[in-house]
């Protein structure tokens, strides 16, 4: 590594040594284990069990969680660096990991009590059990506070009734963080509670796999709760504080999702640069054409901006500072950036990019959801505006 001049202000853009190794290790893993099977995952709509096992042995499922529970404790910056590298593989892998680490188990990690965490976090960190995050409902997408799933106290526990939909990994997860209304009169201000729910328990049904535009290999489905009993000690945080838990978790989720955008866009840029140098038209490589050069230049510039905002926000998160506005900005910008970059990559690849073989058309289809899930980009703008106009 190059020697770095530390500025008098202490500003230093160099990744810590262990994160450099983390980044390199995950890149190697992606190149050797994940990228070669990306087309197979797309065709079969399944990630092979052997690959999930390999991800588990590497320790991916416990990345952001505390070492005391068996996690790797890489911090928010480390987690973003990891997801950036994973973003180079097919989106199926980052969705599997994201549903579990970024939001599903993250809610428990952030707001769960010590006993609940001690019971469940070790198996989640080891990847022996998988988690998902169940907030969205048919009638409550962007308007998340409008959820209708009810949890009613009955003896020593709660009885859950309602339907969650578009739940990533809902088909394979063992547990879900489920948000339900405990006090209809109070709504988002004290009326919603987060529950840690065993999806293999009675009263829980999983709907059929949704048929999607992309993200093959990662599945979403409905989770249907009919008189599902949840023990009272499975409340995450306190009764009525669920909406805060959801927002806090989504701050984390948005930041790490943006990190994945940076990695996938970087990979598209690299593929585009290589293709532009090699593809000959009008007697010379298309990289000689200014039209192509300008596209590459814009792609690189946008990626540069995106990566810096992700790292900066992660740094802020690691310092324990509030970063809700930044998370919304980062999610909004990076997802739009990734969609734009993959569109340009496809344009540079021309007809070849439209064919299955290059993997560009897959990335193109996979990218579109980025501006929608974990809060649409319109909702991100509302969050940013609200922070700006606060007080």
């Amino acid at each position: 590594m190059s020697s770095v001049m530390h500025s008098p202000s202490g500003l230093n853009f160099e990744l810590p040594e262990e994160l450099v190794l983390l980044k390199r290790t995950i890149r190697e893993f992606v190149e050797k284990e994940l990228w070669p099977i990306a087309s197979q995952v797309e065709e079969t709509d399944e990630i092979p069990q052997a690959t999930i096992d390999a991800m588990r042995s590497l320790g991916l499922f416990g990345l952001p969680f505390a070492e005391q529970y068996g996690g790797a404790g890489v911090g928010e910056l480390g987690y973003c660096v990891a997801l950036e590298e994973l973003g180079r593989a097919s989106a199926a892998f980052s969705n599997l990991l994201g549903a579990h680490c970024s939001i599903g188990a993250m809610a428990l990690h952030l707001d769960g009590g010590p006993e609940l965490k001690a019971r469940f976090m070790p198996a989640l960190c080891a990847g022996e059990k998988l988690a998902c995050f169940a907030l969205s409902e048919p009638g409550a997408g962007s308007d998340a506070a409008n959820i209708a799933t009810r949890a009613v106290l009955d003896g020593d526990g709660y009885v859950l009734n309602g339907v969650k939909h578009f739940i990533t990994s809902g088909d394979i997860a063992d547990y879900a963080t489920v948000f339900a209304v405990t006090d209809p009169a109070r709504g988002a201000r004290g009326g919603i509670t987060a529950f840690w729910v065993d999806l293999n328990g009675p009263g829980v049904t999983r709907g059929p796999k949704d048929r999607k535009m992309g993200l093959f290999g990662s599945h979403t489905c409905e989770l249907i709760f009919r008189d599902a009993r949840v023990p009272a000690d499975h409340v995450i945080g306190s009764v009525g504080a669920g909406f805060k838990t959801a927002m806090k978790t989504l701050d984390m989720g948005r930041l790490s999702l943006a990190a994945g955008c940076v990695g996938s866009a970087q990979f598209m840029l690299e593929k585009s640069v290589a293709y532009a140098k090699e593809r000959v038209q009008f007697g010379q490589p298309i990289a000689r054409q200014q039209a192509v050069q300008f596209m590459l230049a814009d792609m690189a510039t946008e990626i540069f901006a995106a990566r810096n905002m992700v790292y900066h926000t992660a740094w802020k998160a690691d310092r324990g500072e509030r970063f809700s506005m930044e998370a919304a900005m980062v999610k909004r910008y990076c997802s739009d950036m990734a969609i734009h970059v993959v569109d340009r990559a496809l344009q540079i690849h021309g007809g070849s990019g439209f064919m299955k073989e290059t993997g560009i058309e897959r990335a193109y289809r996979d990218a579109r959801i980025l501006a929608i899930y974990e809060g649409t980009n319109e909702i991100q703008r509302l969050i940013i505006a609200e922070e700006l106009l606060r007080g």
Partner: protein, 263 residues
């Protein structure tokens, strides 16, 4: 049992390597440096021995490198090694294989060990001399090209890879064993291991610490000198055989190979 694995940091094997015309040495700053891939097999083998008897075995990584070599030691620690020692001194630059072996011998005497494991060679110079030279200078048995390794009591036994099979070789410890690529599949450092590695100790030693004679190291202390170097000549263009009948084409390729005694 104390196992020491000797490792080297080498230019990324995928990178294009450039020789500096002035120093006639490899330009190591132009490319990213990585842990010598051959050494990863030695580390893996050491870790397997340690994992089989974790309470009584300790794996130490030893290397001679500039300070930037710390990075590869961290990788070895992230894979699971217990600690590491780095011999780093500006005066070492330019040392040839014998000078390197001399330093490694002093370093290993300084830290002490029962079993030394190494790769068969490094991917940069591909000399493959250091393991044997090191064993000689340490005065211990040298078991090379192990494709299988077993420790029993105070002795080590290997299957030494040969062209048409293997030879069983046994020696009392302390001993040095160089391992081949076939011996195992090195593990990835786990992500937990990577984060844990920063808490493990890396001792940095200088020439004075190990009592090295400064006249025996560096370019001045080396017996070999690179006089000159030249680029390998471009390969001659191959012969293209065109035939309309596949049998005829195959026949002509067959004759071509016979003529060159390739078959």
């Amino acid at each position: 049992m104390k196992i020491v694995v000797t490792v080297k940091h080498v230019p990324d094997t995928n990178a294009e390597k450039v020789l500096d015309p002035q120093t006639k040495r490899l330009n190591r700053s132009a490319v990213e440096n990585v842990l010598n891939p051959f050494d990863e097999y030695a580390i893996e083998e050491a870790l397997r021995l340690r994992d089989a008897s974790p309470d009584t075995t300790r794996v130490t990584i030893a290397s001679i490198a500039p300070r930037s070599g710390l990075e590869i030691l961290r990788k070895a620690l992230a894979m699971g090694a217990d600690d590491a020692v780095l011999l780093s001194d500006d005066a070492i630059a330019g040392s040839d294989t014998m000078a390197t072996a001399y330093l490694l011998a002093l370093l290993l005497r300084h830290i002490g060990c029962d079993l030394v494991l190494s790769g068969t060679q490094s991917t940069d110079a591909l000399n493959g001399i250091v393991p044997a030279a090191l064993a000689e200078l340490l005065g211990v048995p040298c078991l090379t090209f192990a494709k299988k390794l077993m420790v029993e009591g105070n002795s080590v036994e290997i299957q030494r890879e040969t062209e048409d099979g293997y030879a069983r070789v046994r020696a009392p410890m302390p001993a040095l064993v160089s391992v081949t690529k076939g011996i195992n599949e090195p593990r990835y450092p786990t992500l937990k291991g990577i984060m844990g590695a920063k808490k493990k100790e890396i001792r940095t030693l200088s020439l004075t610490d190990i009592g090295a004679d400064p006249t025996r190291v560096g370019a001045a202390g080396s017996k070999t000198v690179v006089e000159s170097f030249a680029a390998a000549g471009a390969r001659a263009k191959g012969t293209v055989i065109t035939a309309t009948d596949p049998r005829e084409g195959a026949r002509r390729i067959f004759d071509f190979l016979i003529e060159r005694k390739a078959l």
